[in-house]
Symmetry: C2
């Protein structure tokens, strides 16, 4: 193998490892949507349940717990009656905003392509 190819291959492997690292944190089909949603505004549990279309209550609470563990979102319990819980994105979580934008942009293009074919 030529040195140049070998270099490319090394880059490729590093990239795959990095992608795997990201997907470990954002696994499942909901987490990116939740992050994207909370990038716009803090939201309550019930609001997320409506906005993230198709998610069930169990999955939402599970995913929220995961995201909180990874310090991507923050859970705020407001001291009211009845209880109100607000989820908001952390500073670290907002570093994912570009990622969500790129994914959403491609989705829009893809949808157009499907419709036109």
């Amino acid at each position: 193998m030529k040195p140049k190819e070998e270099f490319h291959l090394k880059q490729c492997r590093q990239k795959i490892r990095a992608i795997h690292d990201t997907l470990d944190v954002l696994n499942g089909k909901w987490k990116i949507s939740i992050i994207s949603c909370l990038c716009y505004a803090p939201m309550r549990y019930s609001e997320l349940l409506k906005e993230v279309h198709g998610i069930s209550g169990k999955m939402l609470s599970r995913e929220l717990k995961d995201l909180e563990m990874n310090n991507l979102i923050k859970r705020n319990v407001l001291d009211t009656q009845p209880v109100v819980v607000k989820y908001e994105i952390t500073e670290y979580g907002s570093s994912l905003k570009e990622l969500t934008n790129v994914i959403a942009d491609w989705g829009i293009k893809h949808r157009e392509k499907i419709i036109n074919s």
Copy 2:
């Protein structure tokens, strides 16, 4: 609700729909890695099996079939003995390159953050 908030909410919903569209095509934990790999060079089945670390043969062939159906990659059977099969990225598939870069970049940052904490 104020008009401005309502506008934001609309944007948010559209974005979530777009994200879902993308994830429908790139579901599972392997497709993005495969795409990223083929962005570097066309590869054979057995090469991908080594490069995409952890994937099993069954999953690889299944994912490749999915990606081919969505016109993101192309399967080339070379007329040799024994048979050689090369997978390469299509023009449409290469429109995902930016996406893979952004995901990989975040993965690298995230790994650094984990190590430093």
